[in-house]
Amino acid sequence: MTPEAIVRVEGLVKDFRPGFGRRKTRVLKGIDFEVREGEVFGFIGPNGAGKTTTLKVLMGLIHATAGDARVLGHPVTESAYRASIGYAPESPYFYDFLTGREILDFYARLTAVPDALRADRVAEILEQVGLTHAADARLRTYSKGMLQRIGIAQAVVHDPSVVFLDEPMSGLDPVGRKEVRDLIVALNRAGKTIMMNTHILHDVEMICDRVAIIVDGSIAYEGVIDGFDSAGEKIYDVTLASLAPDFVEEIATGLDVAPSGRGERVTFRVPEKDVNGLVESALRRGGRLLEVLGHRSDLEALFLSTVNECKENGEGSA
């Protein structure tokens, strides 16, 4: 196991038997992936691909048929290490006769947050998820967005180092989605490693460092979202204007990806080492620099091509 691997899954298989006498269904077909320290890892795939099953195996809610799954170096069948992890399930349901403060106190007790610190910790988390105003209201009066935030709050009330989120933006309106997204970014900035199941690609593009795409129980892709070239160097999109056509042609011949342009704006995709040279020569030839942005892959295109490729092959290319 590499030292920075917080979650490591190897050859994970899960079979379900729909009922007595029926044939078993293989939901996970020997998947491998890892989540590294400090990253936001997006686990994406179509509905029914095996995302939630994988997460439930990692949480010990479902027993794997074969393979190995470890979190923080511990087999997921253990219990004690879970004091260091947090989990927010999809559409969480809580004891709705409790208030926001009481439910967080309940989970803080389960995770052995010391008595002397518990009340302050609960208040701090309520503040962090923006629910201080509703702390003493019963959960049955909470909106879906508020419950989603309480779901994340209970996952981090004991200050875990790894947080697992299952469809955290599911069913939320744009405002709710942004709030939850901001919360995830804040948790990551606070040093937490985050693994997030979702099929909302826009959110993944905005906050995830790496993704794995699962299709029909197999990992079809695992890699970064930020663009890197084959040598592992970061790629940038440089947008310039007022360029002579011959200059554009001259530059384009040395590039892997053809420049794209709209009007007089032309965007070149170049590795980090070539950014300065390109900008300097463009400025010398009378061009204008409009922007330099770190390139992000078109996740939707990657996702769709991966899914379609798997469908054509009849299975994921694990």
């Binding site: 379900f16 439930k56 809610l61 479902i62 389960l110």
Partner: protein, 258 residues
């Protein structure tokens, strides 16, 4: 220590959840009505009026206590799985066995509170009607508490793998059989078949003997109850409870929560 704390937290929350159950209050209400109506029913008798009051009242406590234990107990674990509240609990450092024990203790605490209310009603009715109360009454109520603990244990076991309807059916069945355990050997011996006789002997050994916790007759007639026997019945109750909870934890450990 963390495990004990988790059990305590789950038990306290279960108690808090259970006392909101309407079924529980309806059954408690009817048990108190039955205890109070024992006075009216006893009025039809010319002899031993006080003993009839005691008999009806204590039997009501046993019956309604068991009804509460079964009908609240059978949904105990199933509801947590159905509502998916169990996901967030088991993702914390809580083992499935600790979860089962916590749920069990929470419901036992709920039942003992109900039993205390019913016992207060019983003692008040006896006091008001001149029935003589002795240590036998306290022992009888105490053993009802032990019996209810065993009933909750098997209701919890059935709740760990079956739907509430099936769990209730199994629990009612086991409760009824548990009161006939002592008759099984007699039935087997009287059958004239060696196979039936040996089968009934094995069933008698396998099934809990709930009638062992019934000391109502001794309490009513103020007969001595040897402390050794009470101790043995208490140990028997603990052994059955541990056995049922161990099977429940074992079963629950193997489940997938899809």
């Amino acid at each position: 220590m963390t495990g004990l704390r988790a059990i305590q937290t789950i038990a306290a929350n279960t108690l808090r959840d259970a006392v909101r159950s309407r079924v529980l209050y309806v059954l408690l209400f009817f048990s108190l009505v039955m205890i109070a109506s024992s006075v009216t029913l006893a009025a039809f008798s010319y002899v031993e009026r006080e003993r009839i009051i005691q008999d009806i009242a204590l039997s009501s406590i046993r019956f309604f206590g068991a009804a509460i234990a079964i009908f609240v107990g059978v949904g105990l674990v199933h509801r947590e799985v159905e509502r998916r509240t169990i996901y967030t609990i088991l993702s914390k450092p809580v083992t499935r066995a600790q979860f089962i024990i916590g749920k069990y203790l929470g419901l036992v605490a709920t039942l003992w509170i109900q039993l205390a209310v019913m016992a207060c009603g019983y003692f008040a009715i006896c006091e008001l009607n001149g029935a003589v109360l002795g240590s036998g009454d306290a022992i009888a109520v105490g053993l009802i508490a032990v019996e209810l603990s065993v009933v909750v244990a098997f209701a919890t076991l059935f709740s760990s793998f079956a739907t509430p309807f099936l769990a209730a059916s199994y629990s009612v069945g086991l409760y009824m059989v548990g009161h006939l355990t002592r008759d099984l050997r007699v039935i087997g011996e009287g059958s004239g078949s060696e196979t039936v006789a040996s089968l009934t002997v094995w069933l008698e050994r396998l099934l809990p003997d709930l009638s062992a916790f019934n000391r109502v007759m001794e309490a009513i007639h103020d007969l001595p109850i040897p402390p050794v026997e009470v101790g043995a019945e208490l140990l028997q109750g603990i052994a059955w409870t541990v056995a049922f909870l161990a099977i429940a934890a074992w079963t629950f450990e193997r489940r997938d929560f899809r």
